[in-house]
Amino acid sequence: MNLSVTWAEAWIRQCVDVIADHRVELITLDRDIGDGDHGENMDRGFQAVLGKLDTLPAESVPGDVLKLVATTLISTVGGAAGPLYGTAFLKAAVAVAGKPDLDGAAVVALLTAARDGIVLRGKAESGDKTMVDAWTPAVDAAAAAERAGATPVAILVEAADAAEAGAVATEPLVARKGRASYLGERAIGHRDPGAQSSALLLRAAAETAERVADE
């Protein structure tokens, strides 16, 4: 079953809740190797998104939801995460613009565009201990699943699994981008907060897709 605007909206609403629930965890991760604001920044952004979701016109498509998220995050999150996630959602919106519902290829295009947006803005490479280390495995897993004929739901589950593994895999790394890069060896053993929030957002995508598919 393709994913409609119902999924897109449910996904984003779940992001709001998940980020609020993990606010302190993300702050703590960022305190360890950054400046301790990532959870607060993300929560401020998604609360603002929540306030705007009701303004979406009835005839909206998934791309419209993503665009709304993008502009809201850009204008409310700040820090590094604001422009990076903002660009991710903006590029994702463009990638699926106008499509009323998304098949597997569209889901992969969405994820790929998001990841490319982050890389375009942040110039991080894989292994730099950033959110890219959650997104790139997610994109790769999604593409592989799609090539293997998986459903959009299954593609998102693969992506979420890979993103979580990618976030965990940032722990042994030395950072080369973002604030954690100043820590050198001392960043080792700590999970990157942006990779963790990315994994949370992608898990929300998969879970809501499963739920919407069940309904």
């Binding site: 400046d35 607060e40 700040g78 820090g79 590094a80 422009p83 990076l84 604030r179 890069s181 100043y182």
Partner: protein
């Protein structure tokens, strides 16, 4: 966490409102989006200077808005760079037709948000140039990091570029002066205690009772090394070494020496530091011709300080001496 705050979410808005109430002769304040502009903005024909970044570093940047320095400051949430909207709005508010210079500290968030704002301003027909301040020599290998951070040297860039704009330099010339300062200013800091971001409620890092962090960033980012507390003179020597080697500063140079408190350091300690730093420079044949001591680029209540050295020439000295009238720096008027 013990702080003089109400709801942690309102810290920046309330402080900005208080700032406006206290300095209505110097600045005006816009809320929604939040930014601070000098009272007479925009000044027709003058290049506008906009800086900004996360809050918690006061008086930077709001305290430097006024005649002879910044035209606008854009405060983000505590330790979080502002979003593009207020940067754009501030840029529009100070555009007097001669273009706008963005003075940005080198942090991913600041760079990206100012970049977006500059793109939007350009689309609006405003000419924008950007300079990136990265004076922190604590970051050693900038190839393998996000690059050197912008710290207390930013104040000197803002003062000197502000004076250039005030005397009527065009955008390219103001940007060139700013770049010249950036090329000649170096800083390194130390933390004795961490700071507590209001919404986080807990210290940004921990240091044992006998530990200090050499090379600290202004958001509590860690530095080069964590060592045992030493006498002030030894700490000064540790900071000055990498600073002086970097450009390098050499015998015969004239410099501005800035000893900057991190927010929670008694002034008496800053002068103990200044004494030693001046002594070391004198011994190397470097002449301190201009000085600044105090809290200028802070990290909330952090105890610690940074030392900044700027190589001066006649032009930079004259621009430094030019009149300035801001909440935190004032002379000549």
């Amino acid at each position: 966490m013990k702080k003089l705050v109400n709801d942690p979410k309102n810290v920046v808005d309330e402080a900005v409102a208080g700032f406006a109430a206290a300095h209505g002769d110097i600045v005006r304040v816009s809320s929604d989006p939040t930014f601070i502009v000098r009272a007479d903005a925009p000044v027709t024909g003058k290049v506008g200077l906009v800086s900004g970044g996360g809050s918690g570093h006061e008086p930077m940047h709001g305290g430097f808005v006024g005649v002879g320095m910044l035209d606008a400051a854009v405060p983000g949430a505590v330790f979080t760079s502002p979003t593009p909207d207020p940067i754009l709005a501030a840029t529009q508010a100070v555009n007097g037709g001669a273009g706008v210079l963005h003075i940005v500290k080198n942090y991913t968030g600041d760079v990206l948000n100012f970049e977006t704002a500059a793109d939007l301003a350009l689309a609006d027909g405003i000419e924008v140039r950007t300079v990136i301040v990265n004076d922190d020599v604590a970051v050693k290998d900038s190839l393998y990091t996000a690059g050197r951070r912008g710290v207390a040297g930013t104040v000197l860039v803002e003062k000197i570029a502000g004076a250039a704009a005030e005397r009527g330099d065009d955008l390219a010339a103001v940007a060139a002066v700013a770049e010249k300062v950036i090329g000649q200013v170096r800083t390194m800091g130390v933390a004795l205690t961490p700071c507590v971001v209001p919404h986080a409620g807990e210290p940004s890092f921990t240091l044992a009772e006998d530990e200090i962090e050499i090379g600290i960033g202004i958001h509590g980012e860690p530095g080069r090394e964590r060592i045992k507390l030493e006498p002030a003179d030894a700490i000064v020597d540790r900071l000055l070494g990498p600073i002086l080697e970097d450009i390098p500063f050499v015998s015969g140079d004239s410099v501005l020496l800035l000893v900057n408190g991190m927010g929670g350091t008694p002034q008496i300690e800053l002068y103990i530091v200044f004494r030693r730093a001046a002594e070391v420079l004198a011994a190397k044949g470097i002449t301190v011709t201009r000085t600044l001591v105090g809290n200028f680029t802070t990290s909330l209540e952090m105890q610690g300080m940074s030392i900044t050295v700027l190589k001066l020439d006649d032009e930079l000295t004259a621009l430094w001496d030019a009149p300035v009238q801001t909440a935190a720096l004032r002379w000549g008027r």
